[in-house]
Amino acid sequence: MTTRNQAGQLNHQPRPVSWLRILVIGRNPKVTLLRVAVLIVTCFIVFRFILLPARIEGISMLPTYQDRSVNFVNRLAYRWHEPRRGDVVGIRLAGPHVMYLKRIIGLPGETVAFENGRVLINSEVLDEPYEKAPCDWNCPPVKLGPDEYFVVGDNRTMPSENHVFGKAGRDRIVGKALL
């Protein structure tokens, strides 16, 4: 923009920046670009190596997790402590792109059994407040090794033959469900 001052000289004033441009790329495009780059790198690191996004498929974790809902698996959850009973964990198959989402009910060294729908840990009944529906499962006792956890879904209204559950090695546990 050009204006003329009192002495009649031409003044070159910078053009006023439109509000739309400020809204989209900010007052300083270089800073905005840097922020965008930092955000992209942060998202890449977080969602690729720390919080794995997971879309839940199937009904085995009902009513805790609905079919087709979205969750994240926190890979850092067990960096400073071992998995605990009641944790919902992601269990990898050949890799972390497809995982089972299951709840840990048995810890290493324990004996797990199902008797008329109740879970017995070392012959004692396990209190499971997350279990809302009646269950009639019966499974013989399973002794867990030093690095093994017993995992099962929350939906035990379905027949046990249709439900994937059992012993999982520690190396298969990818992380803890975040939500």
């Binding site: 498929e57 269990i91 198959l93 050949a94 890799g95 792109h97 497809v98 059992g166 012993k167 999982a168």
Partner: protein
Amino acid sequence: MKIIIRIVLLAVLAALGVWLWMVLFPSPEKVIRRRLTELARTVSSSANESDLARLAAARSVGGFFAAAVELNVNLPELGQRTMDREEITQAALMGRSRAGGLQVKFPDINITVAPDKQSAVADLTVEANISGEHDSIVREMKFTLRKTDGQWLITRVETVRTLT
């Protein structure tokens, strides 16, 4: 300045050489990965496939396997047995006609090549979506491959029990 330009040029040339070498002489792992991805694509089928296309695809599936294949899978019709290539083609054909539409993917493939580079084991996740079915079928499987006449052929297929 000239030296810097020369160094940069040399580095670019070296990188190009390495890339070209990798394209022309891919590692066995890369070849196997590509072959397994191709197998998944060949096994996949659309619902409105013609009989001729179905037969051709089933024959192609047979080409990924060795003359005799050891099977140890937890499917009632297959179980633990040895199949020849023709039987695999027949099984593929039957599966295709029965499934209607089928989409198969191997989202995770871990390959271990033997030191002699003549055999390899691929531990992979199989994800199959059958048309009209709500849930996808997910299994962990282990394929043993052997290099025969320059081609990596599957000699053994077994189901891995993720939860025992």
